[in-house]
């Protein structure tokens, strides 16, 4: 469904662009004709597909890293102690800051390689994940937890398992949403300074005023992004189905 939605939106956008071109009589230099766009989409697909896959892999790695760190920090900070309250306040304040703005600093210190792209992808999706996990992990599910507390059987693993299980839908939604953010973060990082990935290809195409190449890049990254988010949603559905069975 997500894939179909993307293709419909992409084709609609393309049609609008071509309609504007022909209605306003714009030049091929500004908006390329359909033949040129299809040449880049089909004949030069490899030039865009591989960078798009490269970006997707970095985004997935950054996303997984952000999820792991957010789970660990939220689990540790869930207790309501003074330190955990400090972490919560810091997370609320930091998430209001546009992380993309610190990307140039990351590139200065780490260079234009993989680590910078990975770090920026993680940072962009980390704070929304952390805030959601903090909310979920620190909210007691009294009707389930009461027995374990009464009988002295409550430990950290049981508490976490109960809260994760009871909020599984919310967690899957948050993870899927943050997957888009990770993708955005990686592309922005590549757009700024990296020497790899689809963002880098878009930057080069921009300098050459090559709209057909930009459109082709957008198509392939949209395709990869949709497939990744579909995989995350499918994994969530499978987990829920397995648990509910």
């Amino acid at each position: 469904m997500r894939l179909v939605q993307f293709i419909v939106i992409f084709l609609t956008g393309l049609c609008i662009l071509l309609a504007v071109k022909y209605l306003a009589g714009l030049s091929d230099y500004l908006i390329p004709p359909p033949e040129e766009i299809s040449f880049f989409l089909f004949n030069k697909a490899g030039d865009f597909l591989f960078p798009a896959l490269n970006t997707t892999i970095v985004a997935i790695a950054g996303h997984v890293l952000a999820i792991l760190i957010a789970v660990i920090v939220a689990f540790w900070a869930r207790t309501g102690s003074r330190i955990s309250n400090m972490v919560k306040t810091a997370a609320y304040n930091l998430q209001a800051y546009p992380v993309v703005a610190i990307a140039p600093i990351v590139f200065i210190f780490l260079g234009d390689g993989l680590s910078s792209r990975l770090l920026i992808a993680s940072l962009i999706c980390y704070f929304p994940l952390l805030l959601s996990f903090l909310g979920i992990f620190s909210d007691p599910v009294t009707d389930v937890e009461h027995f374990f507390r009464e009988t002295g059987r409550m430990d950290a693993v049981t508490e976490l398992s109960i809260r994760v299980f009871e909020n599984l839908d919310k967690i899957i939604t948050v993870i899927t949403g943050s997957g888009t953010l990770a993708m955005v973060g990686t592309i922005v990082a590549e757009f700024l300074a990296a020497t790899n990935g689809i963002g880098y290809v878009i930057r080069k195409s921009l300098y050459q005023n090559n709209l057909a190449a930009i459109l082709s890049s957008l198509f392939f990254i949209g395709l990869c992004s949709s497939l990744y988010l579909m995989a995350v949603e499918a994994a969530g559905r499978m987990i829920k189905k397995k648990i509910a069975a």
Binding site: D143, V144, H146, F147, T151, S161, I162, I243
Partner: protein
């Protein structure tokens, strides 16, 4: 086992007035004790104070020879990722495995052990929840409307089983059902109706203390029920206006 509440006062934050004001109560020995009253009369609040889940504003709750008291209520849920049988096995206290088998059989749950909690009916959920408390080590078990969704014949046979098989334990049973309170209880503490002021004293009545309703003479049960209901409406005089 003995529980003595002295001069107990309590009110919920933001409420109009206190629920209890200088309340005294004493429960001693093993057996079945009941709190009876209409909705909102403070039965659960009193039970939660005794269980230590709420803290009184003033007064004391003194407990003697009570090493472990447990509080159970009817909306409790089991973790949803395990079949109920697996969960029950994991939480059964050492040496109580045989009792678990008996309880599952007596409560009509043996065929449901492979099911997830979410798939059970409300009455089955109530019974499974009660089973897991009964296989713990405890001196006192507070049952706050734990059989609210169970049909009457099943409720009678469950209460009958508990009375026969746990004679050395103490139970505080909270219910709206006047007939089961009258039949099974050793002592009934009656709370007045909601919204009539702060409660300062409870009406304590002896129950029939039987282990099955069939053993009771119909006339005696009706007499006891009437006595409890009258105490419930008359107990307004125990309120501080």
């Amino acid at each position: 086992m003995e529980i003595i509440c002295r001069n107990l006062s309590f009110s919920y934050a933001g409420s109009d007035g206190p629920i209890f004001s200088g309340l005294d109560l004493s429960i001693s020995g093993a057996g079945f004790f009941s709190f009876f009253g209409f909705s909102g009369s403070g039965k659960s609040t009193l039970a939660r104070l005794i269980a230590g889940l709420l803290t009184p504003e003033s007064g004391q709750i003194i407990k003697h020879d009570l090493s472990r008291g447990l509080f159970s209520y009817n909306t409790e849920r089991l973790p949803g990722w395990l079949p109920v049988g697996e969960h029950l096995k994991r939480v059964t206290a050492d040496g109580r495995e045989e009792m678990l088998k008996r309880l599952l059989s007596e409560f009509g749950l043996t065929s449901l052990t492979g099911h997830k909690f979410l798939k059970l009916s409300m009455g089955q959920k109530n019974r499974v929840n009660l089973v897991r408390y009964l296989v713990q080590d405890f001196d006192l078990l507070i049952l706050d409307e734990v059989l609210a969704n169970v049909d009457e014949p099943s409720r009678n046979s469950i209460l009958s089983f508990i009375k026969k098989n746990f004679p050395e334990k103490s139970f505080i049973y909270i219910s709206h059902n006047v007939s089961e309170v009258a039949v099974f209880s050793k002592e009934v503490f009656v709370l007045p109706q909601e919204g009539t002021g702060a409660l300062s004293d409870l009406v304590s009545l002896s129950g029939l203390d039987l282990d099955h309703p069939k053993k009771a003479e119909r006339g005696r049960v009706q007499e006891k029920m009437l006595e409890i209901l009258q105490a419930s409406s008359e107990s307004k005089k125990h309120l501080k206006q």
